[in-house]
């Protein structure tokens, strides 16, 4: 059982929780988090790794309180136990060279660990980050530790600011309309783009088939076969 080290609100409805005592994972992987003994709230919630530190063994999540499960997470105090099953899913595959990262809302959370791993892997590569928020922004200062540029947009679509014609790899995570816009732009520019998807999950390990999506390679499980996909595979799923 993992132990909560900290759990603080960082923006309206947005919380950062750090835990210890769980195995650490890679960018793009997630944990099924669940309050032990909470039978009323039966299922774990799939929450992506925002920061993972193999040295200290700490994993940080940034989550939005959208329903009963995440609202319950927000009540947890440091020192309390939390059941953290994982890490599950395939992370982002790290490509070489210039990288552009596009995040929308709470979809920015898994991209922070991605920026960190890309920077650690190659101190000289260029990393440009575009973050879009409906109102209040968060995490942009953390991105600045790893990125060469961080562009933040509040209201409107951050995707309009992104040049998809660069010789670069593109990674995106965010709400479905943003992912569709990014995929359309990438297609026009014939860019390389990886998307991290989400869907309601019961098990997180590929057994319940609750999160399968249609891909051009047949039906795939977002939890087990993803959550990161080449955008060309999942055009019908977003």
């Amino acid at each position: 059982m993992a132990i909560i080290q900290s759990n603080q609100q960082i923006a309206q409805g947005i919380w950062r929780m750090a835990i210890s005592g769980a195995p650490t994972g890679r960018a793009g992987q997630f944990f099924m988090l669940r309050v032990p003994g909470a039978v009323n709230l039966l299922l774990g919630r799939p929450i992506s790794i925002c920061q993972s530190d193999a040295g200290t063994g700490e994993t940080t999540f940034v989550y939005q309180t959208v329903g009963r499960g995440t609202a319950q997470f927000a009540t947890l105090k440091p020192g309390q136990e939390i059941d953290a099953q994982g890490p599950y899913g395939n992370g982002f595959s790290l490509k070489e060279g210039h990288t552009v990262i596009i995040g929308g809302g709470i979809g920015t959370a898994p991209l922070l660990q991605l920026a960190k791993e890309l920077r650690v892997g190659d101190p000289d590569r260029r990393i440009d980050v575009y973050l879009g928020f409906r109102e209040e922004s968060y995490l942009e200062n953390a991105f600045e530790l790893y990125a060469d540029s961080v562009t933040v947009k509040r209201g409107g679509f951050v995707t309009g600011d992104v040049d998809f014609s660069l010789n670069a790899q593109y990674y995106a995570c965010g709400p479905a309309p943003m992912l569709r816009a990014v995929a359309n732009a990438a297609e026009k520019a014939n860019a390389t783009l990886f998307l991290s998807l989400e869907k309601h999950m019961a098990c997180g390990v590929g057994a319940c088939l609750g999160c399968t999506c249609q891909t051009n390679g047949g039906r795939k499980r977002i939890c087990k076969d993803g959550p990161v996909f080449d955008y060309r595979e999942v055009r019908d799923a977003i």
Partner: protein
């Protein structure tokens, strides 16, 4: 060497303990084999199969409810032949008893599926006439004694494996359905499948599921499932396998005291992948503390 107090025989098949992974919650064992010691289970009932396979339902498929969940997976599966060729041997190698769960859209599908499964190394065929999430066949056959008995009789005539019929809690005369399946030759009964439920998204003013209705499972349904297992176990002489919301060894003991020889656990594995192993350990501890030479001594004591 004395035998384990947890071991039992189900339809002539030796199980090391009475804890079976419920169909539709455990794939064919691959996924959980990566994260827990599945060899310790009594049995595994594989993902429900249909003759030609299915992509399952569109839209939302899982939805949490108080102490439970609704699902509308819709029998997504790779088809019986794929199972026979690619999955059965893997399941056998895991160690626990191998149960193949067979659904269908019509009688011919069930019978052809049964014939194909005759070519697989499985221990028990679980005849699924209780899935609420497929439009044709599925649950429809399990709702009435005559149709349930008819498909049971025909599958029994073809199958070389023992047949365990999985019953629907949505049948209005469940005990009559159970008796009819026994008379038609069923070797065992498993119950309950999910209870038909519904969810509405008030904000969007629409049903959550494309199929409108979906199957409810988890601890929320335990008292209903327990009552049904009690009623059926006292009405038939063939073995009954109980399931419905089991989350602990204590829950498993309730089903066994109500008359179940073995239990299946499903939804709780989603919440806690180690749930079944914890139940097995708890049952062993119970036998030790109660001084039971075999756990079967408590079956049906209530």
């Amino acid at each position: 060497m004395p035998s384990s107090p947890l071991c039992l025989s189900l339809c002539g098949v030796a199980l090391q303990n009475p804890v079976i992974a419920a169909s539709g919650t455990f794939g064919f064992g691959h996924e959980y084999a990566e994260i827990l010691d599945v060899s310790r289970l009594g049995g595994i009932s594989g993902k429900g199969l249909t003759l030609h396979g299915s992509a399952g339902n569109k839209g939302v498929r899982v939805y949490e409810t108080p102490a439970g969940m609704l699902n509308s997976i819709g029998m997504e599966n790779p088809g019986v032949q794929h199972f026979v060729d690619r999955e059965a041997a893997f399941m056998r190698a895991l160690g626990p008893a191998v149960i193949a769960n067979l659904g269908g859209h019509c009688e011919e599908d069930y019978l052809e599926g049964t014939r194909l499964l005759n070519g697989a190394d499985i221990d028990i065929l679980e005849l699924n006439i209780s899935c609420p999430n497929v439009k044709a066949g599925g649950m429809a056959l399990g709702m009435l004694p005559d149709t349930a008995a008819d498909i049971t009789r025909k599958v029994k005539a073809v199958s070389r494996h023992p047949v365990m019929v999985k019953l629907s809690p949505n049948a209005s005369e469940l005990v009559r359905v159970a008796r009819a399946c026994q008379e038609a030759g069923a070797d065992a009964l498993s119950l309950v499948n999910t209870i038909l439920g519904m969810a509405i998204d008030v904000k969007e003013k629409c049903a959550v599921f494309d199929n409108i209705y979906a199957g409810l499972s988890g601890p929320a349904i335990l008292p209903i499932a327990l009552r049904m297992v009690h009623q059926v176990a006292h009405a038939v002489s063939i073995p009954v396998v109980g399931l419905g919301g089991i989350a602990s060894a204590e829950d498993a003991l309730k089903f066994m005291m109500a008359g179940a020889r073995a239990v299946q656990i499903g939804t709780m594995s989603f919440a806690n992948p180690s749930a079944m192993l914890e139940v097995i350990d708890g049952l062993a501890g119970y036998c030790a503390s109660e001084g039971l030479s075999n756990l079967q001594e408590i079956v049906g004591i209530i």
